[in-house]
Symmetry: C2
Subunit: 193 residues, 2 copies
DNA sequence: CGTCTATTTGAATGTACTCAAAAGCGGTGG
DNA sequence: CCACCGCTTTTGAGTACATTCAAATAGACG
């Protein structure tokens, strides 16, 4: 278990001693997820935070009119969950589905609270994680509000080439907040220019 | 200084002893800001995190075409800064301007790091703060992508009545990502329905 | 090979923007 | 205290961006 990605991930920000590693390991459960399998569905409650050891997943919402909106993609070395559901015990707004056969580590809400108690390094790690997540979301919002769809598509491709390989056009469209037909048109215009 | 809002704000999540309160106080600087005064301008570097003791501020971005986008409003009891600038020492993308005469507490980046060292309660507090900020941004993104402008306007008014009182229509429009002309039209339609 | 879904293409429509002008409103100075 | 100035808000016409619906084509997978 010592060669798990999650240690490298955490050690970007904190340095764990052997005891702390033990605490962490004993709080984690590895789970294999098959392509198209859901680890969370809208309406459920979710007490798990997921770390992607391998593979990739997608989080999306379906609104009352049936429109699907992709909130985030998570590839290897990323964290994912419905955070509002996880933290505030609200019903999940999101579906989380594997895009391919994947392995995730589950971290239970109560066990995470215990980890915070046992070592404030975990508190520090997640402070930095949420800090970065907040910044990323804010930049995304700014981007959405101030750039054209064409620009946003180009930036997405440039920023997340790994994701682009794994997902369909339709899913990228739903991340950008446009219809797949319109994205198709934009791609055509980019090629022709 | 003991009757500052900031203590109540922090004690929503952590309980500070007298020593910790001392640490905090000694890291803070009070600053009076006049209406229309900027505490940050695009392109500057920003080493301060601000807590609004009284009054209200607005953070906005102006893009290359001159289009203005409001990222957030901060009223009494809110935290505000250009977080990417503050945390990663990038040039500020945001202007932050007082909407009325206000009082803010400044927390310096280096002093905050020291606070984290001195007591992990501060680490915990900001972990929770960023966690909530992240959730809020994600819900906002979801909202933007899956709801009509009319719905988003209604929700804004319902969720932030205090802000609505203090800001112009134009500023709300730039927060929602539409033109003031279009928001005017939407309001008319709401009234007529 | 056949089925299912993704992607492309096109026509018609709706949503939101630009530009321009008029009306409303708040603050300032005489 | 009122008149004027500047900015916000409203209104309208014309335009651009993005959607819906439908149909054809292309790809993926059992």
């Amino acid at each position: 278990m010592n060669d798990y990605q999650i240690f490298k991930n955490m050690q970007k920000h904190i340095l764990l001693d052997e005891t702390e590693k033990e605490y962490l390991i004993s709080s984690l459960k590895i789970r294999a997820v098959l392509k198209k399998e859901f680890i969370l569905k809208q309406g459920q409650t979710c007490k798990k935070l997921y770390f992607v050891e391998s593979g990739s997943l997608r989080a999306f919402h379906i609104n009352s009119e049936g429109k699907e909106s992709t909130i985030m993609f998570a590839v290897q070395d990323w964290w994912i969950t419905d955070m509002n559901c996880f933290v505030n015990q609200k019903p999940a707004m999101l579906f989380i589905e594997a895009l391919e056969d994947s392995k995730v580590l589950e971290l239970d809400f109560d066990l995470l609270e215990t980890l915070y108690q046992k070592s404030s390094k975990f508190e520090r790690f997640f402070r930095i994680l949420f800090q970065n997540a907040y910044i990323r979301e804010q930049l995304r919002a700014l981007n959405n509000i101030s750039c054209s769809t064409e620009e946003r598509y180009k930036q997405f491709v440039q920023k997340y080439p790994v994701i682009v390989e794994k997902v369909t056009q339709k899913q990228i469209a739903s991340y950008l907040g446009v219809t797949p037909e319109f994205l198709s048109l934009i791609k055509k215009e980019i090629v022709e220019s």
